[in-house]
């Protein structure tokens, strides 16, 4: 995998998480003045993610690309840790370490 492809894979996972969070904000039961903006940004992020992913799929083994999807829930947990000061127990940090190690192993295979 070229370094550019690896960066694109990681960008993809950021886009999907940011897109999901925007859509979640847009779907709250009580209407919010920024709702249309959140909805549009969410759809934009997810559209960009989808086309970048298609472009990556054209050139790289799927079995090599898919493990990067594991970053998606991990980024959610990191976002909760950073933004909501949600405590991360040692086990979760170990999980994050294993996940990143696994992805590095797959990318170099």
């Amino acid at each position: 995998m070229t370094p550019f492809a690896i960066v694109l894979c990681i960008v993809c996972q950021f886009l999907i998480v940011i897109g999901q969070l925007f859509l979640k904000r847009a779907m709250t039961p009580t209407p919010h003045p920024h709702r249309p903006a959140h909805f549009t940004l969410g759809i934009l992020c997810l559209t960009l993610w989808f086309f970048l992913w298609l472009g990556l799929l054209a050139k790289t083994d799927l079995s090599k690309l898919f493990p990067f999807e594991g970053l998606n829930p991990a980024l959610m947990a990191i976002a909760a840790w950073l933004l909501l000061k949600e405590r991360m127990p040692a086990g979760a940090w170990l999980g994050l370490l294993l996940l990143c190690g696994g992805i590095a192993l797959v990318a170099s295979s």
Binding site: L62, S63, G70, P73, A80, L97, V106
Partner: protein
């Protein structure tokens, strides 16, 4: 009687749907991969278009993959109405094994022991982060 045939109760069992959803996710990724690969050399266009995988839209495999992806999404939303997120998330991680298996069987990708080892680490890592992910999903 017809209602029973059209809407079999077992099929709408949330846990059956969870397994079915995992199969749909696997199928959609394999179909998208097939569409993207088939159109790679067929259309020679500029850098950005290729980076964004636009040529893949010319293949019906890609569209079939998009349809399957949408179905998997609907299935997931249905599952989350009945199954606690922690359980659903733990089970859906099976796609990390199903997809490389599908790659091996249907796409004849060479999945080396090194790659399997990496995939195993990814799955273990995700299971260790399970509680944090559930909390993040609920609060973010």
């Amino acid at each position: 009687m017809t209602a029973k045939l059209l809407k079999p109760a077992w099929f709408f069992n949330p846990y059956v749907q969870l397994g079915f959803g995992a199969l749909l996710v696997t199928a959609s990724e394999l179909l998208l991969k097939k569409g993207a690969t088939l159109t790679l050399s067929a259309v020679a266009v500029g850098g950005l278009s290729n980076t964004l995988g636009i040529p893949a839209l010319a293949s019906f495999w890609t569209w079939f993959g998009i349809l399957t992806y949408l179905l998997s999404f609907a299935s997931w939303i249905y599952v989350l109405r009945f199954v606690p997120l922690g359980i659903a998330f733990a089970v859906i991680n099976v796609v990390h094994v199903l997809i490389p298996l599908g790659c091996l069987i249907f796409l004849h990708e060479p999945v080396s022991p090194r790659r399997w080892m990496g995939i195993a680490l990814v799955v273990c890592g995700l299971l260790l982060m399970l509680q944090q992910v559930v909390k993040a999903e609920a609060k973010l």
